[in-house]
Every structure is written in C-alpha cells, then in structure tokens.
Assembly symmetry: D2
Homo-oligomer: 101 residues x 4
Amino acid sequence: MEMEKCACKRSKKRTDEELKPLFNRLSRVEGQIRGIRRMLEEDAYCVDVMLQISAANKALSAISAELLKSHINTCVVEDVSSGKTETAAELAMLVERLMKG
Amino acid sequence: MEMEKCACKRSKKRTDEELKPLFNRLSRVEGQIRGIRRMLEEDAYCVDVMLQISAANKALSAISAELLKSHINTCVVEDVSSGKTETAAELAMLVERLMKG
Amino acid sequence: MEMEKCACKRSKKRTDEELKPLFNRLSRVEGQIRGIRRMLEEDAYCVDVMLQISAANKALSAISAELLKSHINTCVVEDVSSGKTETAAELAMLVERLMKG
Amino acid sequence: MEMEKCACKRSKKRTDEELKPLFNRLSRVEGQIRGIRRMLEEDAYCVDVMLQISAANKALSAISAELLKSHINTCVVEDVSSGKTETAAELAMLVERLMKG
C-alpha cells in the first residue's frame, strides 16, 4: 500500500520532552497487558478481563491521538507549507483507516 | 468552543459534482431513518431495528469520511499553504473529537 | 445470514411508554439529518457539517444502546429462561457486528 | 460501580483449549507493544507508529470479542437459565460501556 511505502522512507525526530510522556503511557499499557495475562491465568471473571482490555485499548488510543495531533501540527504543516501536499493526502487515508477502528 | 466559533465564519463552495453524491447518500440515510421509524411502529424485532440503525450509522459515517478527505485535500492544503496553520490545529481537534465516536 | 433469517420470524411488542422516548429521539435525528442537508445546500464549512454528522451518529447510537439494553433484559432473559439459548448466540453475533462500528 | 463490585466476587474456569489461543493472541499484542516502543526509540515516522498502534488495538479488541462471545454463551446462559437475571443486566451495562470505545 502506498501509505506505508512512502512512510518507510521517512522518520521523525522527537525531543525528550515529547518522548517521555509517550514512554510513560506505553509503560502503563504494558502493565495493563501483563494484568490481562495474569487475570486469564488466575481464572478472572470474563467481565473483569473485558473491562481491563477496554482500559488498555483506551490508553493505546490516547497515545495515537497524541501522535496524530503532533503529526498534523508538525509534519503535515511543514510538508504542505513547502509544497509537499502528498502528506495531506496520506493523512486523509490514515484518518479514514484509523476511524474504521 | 473555539473550533465552532472559528468555523462559523467560514463556508465551503462545493461543485454540483461534489454535491450530487453527497445528496444521494443523504437521501439513502433519510430512507433508512424512515425505515427505523416504521419498524418501531410495526413491532419489529429488536435485533432487526439495531441492524438497521447500524446501517444508517455506517452510511452517515461514510458521508463524514468523504467530507473529511475533501476537507484535508482542499481547505487544509490551501490554508496551510498560505500560512493559515490554524486550519491544521482545527483539524487535529476535529479528528480527536470524531474518533471519540 | 442466519441472524436476519431467524429475526424476520419474530417481533417485539413495545408499550407506549417505551415507544414515546424512542420516537422523540428519532424525530431529533430526523431534524439533524435535515440540518445536514440544509448545511450542504448553504455551502456550510466542512468542519461544521462533520460535527453535525457526528451528533446525528451519536443520537442514533444512543437509540441503539437503549434498544440493546431492553433487548437483553427482556427478549434474551425470557428466551434463555425458557431454554431458547439461540437468542443468546444471536446476541453474541449482533454485539460483535455492532462493535465493528 | 455495581458492575465491578459484583464481578470481583466471581471467577471463570477456562479450559486449556480456551486459554491457549487467548495467550497466543496476547503474546502477539505484547510483541506489537514492544514494536511501538522500539519505533518511538528509533524515530519512526508518526504514521507508521499510528498504524502499529491501530493494529495492536484491533488485536486487543479481537480478544475482547472472543471473551464476550464465550461469556454470553456460557456465563450469561447458565446464570439466566438458573434465574440469576442480574448477569443479563450486568451484560447490558458492559456492552454499553464497551461500545463507547
């Protein structure tokens, strides 16, 4: 798919101030996933496991929302400003895909 | 809210070629909503009503996805290209809001 | 599909107390859809149209959530209590489908 | 909240045949999360990170869908059959919560 092909060629330098909260959020998600594993090992009630999965999903989506906001306000703005409108087209495709869930 | 305030001041001229499929899709949604009303009036089974509501939701979301793609590729590209980066910030907020469902 | 085939044979009697709020909500959705049509006719800004679509989607989903709650607490409970466990299997399929968006 | 309170008192014995695919899926999610961390460490392009997060979200949701199907067809059917209709009410609340995303 075009979106990934073009993305592979690119990278994004993030400052420590940007990375720290992202890594913190990710550590929390990793803890939640370990929790789900432990719950299954310990015969936890289905409803509890599903609520924990729902919490992990929300935490992951919050990371993605953070990245998307930053992506639009940095990469998209910079690229479109300098005439690379394909970053806008790529964004349109990405958002469509993310919205499908 | 900032997003709406700034949006009110703006409008978007659409060509007949853009409007026609949007109106067609909207007519289909209107038919689906009338269908839901009729189903409730005729004691339809809950599951059938929910499947019809789900279809109407999907049809509405498809209109929104179409508008979003067009918005990014026209309004956002034009505004950011001419230095109005607040349209990108507005987009970031919009997408966050749409993703919450 | 099995789900719809079996559903067609069934119906659900709703009291006026149940129907009234459903019809009220549906009337609101119909008003929102008319609003979307008018916005497109009047060259409304994309973001405004998308926010209106999002509101209509939420209103429709709220009707579906209401029906689902009632379906589980009436049809599912009654059928499963009297040994018709296929209503539970049907519910499992329905929820999976609704969750896909 | 009532849902969690009542759930804490309960557990669900799963067979090895049920657990194995759940643990396999969970291992895949853990790999995806490690991938996201590595991507951020290696300055991966925002779009790639978001696509990876989206994949992890989908994998987690698939586990939840699996658990929900099994929950309805076992716990809910058994409890409702033996007169414990509060498991149906609990399910209605759970589904409402899961659908909010």
